[in-house]
Symmetry: C2
Subunit: 278 residues, 2 copies
């Protein structure tokens, strides 16, 4: 669907300037050079466009960071994480702007749920990095670190996306690594405990259930042309229903699909599903 992508692209430009609410469907269709009716042939509603847009970019960003982090040595992990995150945000800067602006501003409950889902994935990634890099040493202060890392990324966001400050991403990442290490090594007064995090009024995030996963896979099997991807998906679906294959084979099958844009989200979900399982 090339039309869908056109609408997402043009709408994103407008959203970045004006926000969701202030941007009308009319403005979007004018920028696309299509009629208002044509918009509703691609999306059921304005909300569905926003939802699709968030999925599109967050899948892109999440899978990329995840892949890089999973294939990096512990000693440069923190640096790589910062660097790749900044890279991702820079690449999709319009989207990043919108996402940050709207996260506190949206009223729509389903959208909020979606946003907090991706946020929790991001937090999970940071926590696993903290555990890999610092381990037991930061047992008391790992949530402190989590929030500090998040707010360091926030500094980058503010400077780069909202004030257009030219920044060297490498020295930026280095600087944040230094700060993170300092805080990890010397912090004695914990700020946020595990209980504090528990007590937070998080919106209930639906676990990615196996049924949902199967549904996505089936849909993709139908749409995919490539035979290797198709067969891999069929086998992986079989594995979800009836575990039989060895970890190496599973890993291989996931690797078969992870470079296909239509499959990378499935690859991400399956990877996390099986690592948790095994």
């Amino acid at each position: 669907m090339v039309k869908k992508q056109l609408i997402i692209d043009k709408a994103l430009e407008l959203f970045a300037e004006q926000g969701f609410e202030a941007t009308s469907v009319q403005q979007i269709t004018e920028k696309c050079g299509i009629s208002k009716g044509a918009f509703y042939l691609s999306f059921k509603s304005k909300g569905e466009l926003i939802s699709a847009m968030i999925d599109h970019f967050m899948i892109e960003i999440t899978t990329r960071i995840d892949h890089v982090v999973n294939n990096t040595d512990d000693n440069v992990l923190l640096y790589t994480f910062y660097y790749e995150t900044f890279q991702s945000f820079q690449k999709h800067s319009d989207f990043a702007k919108v996402f940050i602006k709207e996260q506190t501003h949206t009223i729509d409950k389903e959208l909020l749920l979606k946003i907090s889902y991706y946020h929790s994935l991001f937090e999970g990634a940071i926590l696993s990095i903290i555990e890999r890099v610092f381990g037991e040493k930061v047992k008391q202060t790992k949530y402190d670190l989590l929030y500090c890392i998040k707010s360091f990324i926030g500094i980058y966001t503010e400077l780069n996306l909202f004030y257009n400050v030219p920044l060297d991403l490498q020295s930026l990442a280095e600087s944040f690594v230094e700060k993170t290490n300092l805080l990890a090594k010397h912090t004695t007064i914990p700020l946020i405990s595990a209980e504090t995090v528990q007590s937070m009024e998080h919106p209930l995030i639906e676990e990615v259930k196996i049924e949902k996963l199967l549904e996505i896979i089936e849909q993709t099997i139908i749409e995919t042309k490539e035979p290797i991807e198709k067969e891999s998906l069929v086998l992986l679906k079989q594995e979800l229903l009836e575990p039989a294959l060895s970890p190496a084979i599973i890993k291989g099958l996931i690797n078969n699909i992870r470079n296909n844009p239509d499959c990378k989200w499935i690859a991400y979900l399956l990877l996390h599903y099986f690592t948790f399982k095994i």
Copy 2:
């Protein structure tokens, strides 16, 4: 004007939930139990209400933090600053929510200017604290520190205002003081230089000019009943036009007016005007 205050209070509740745009004048008047017409007797427009609201609370918060900071020893300055800031935000939590949510979201240029004006006052306060506490030692990294302190406050904001996490403000402030000291003492890789800050695309903030100051003072002289305040204002106005009095007398006159709610903003502006001058 008790009606004006009623509208500000009720509107703030709605803004905190829904934001400026999503809240209609109708909703506000319904919540106040007044007619739509009555709203426009108190405010020229919806925008003027928002503007007045921001002034009302930011003057409150700014003057309070400024006063506390100016009357605190260097050795507990950082702690006191964090603590008082959190206190202020907690006290005006609805406003804080709105202010944070809307700062990236507003399109209205005049409003943006107002918001960045108060932001720059806040940044100025933090910078002067950094200089007092750490002095020359953080020459290279003082802007790093500025942004870290700002983002620490952002952590508090996120936890307390948006996730309603119960927090002990004292240990929170202690924890942030420790983190700030760590970063100040050991950071070797600067992130943000003075040039970086210069290059930021700040909206042009109008200096508070002497004419504007005189205007506000004259207006307040007319409105004020208290004879001491009135006379102090008259003398201070004279001093602005023709410097004659000694610093001690000026300080005394400012002290005369700074506890009066209608005058505290003038007190703040004059204090900064004269310390810069002398």
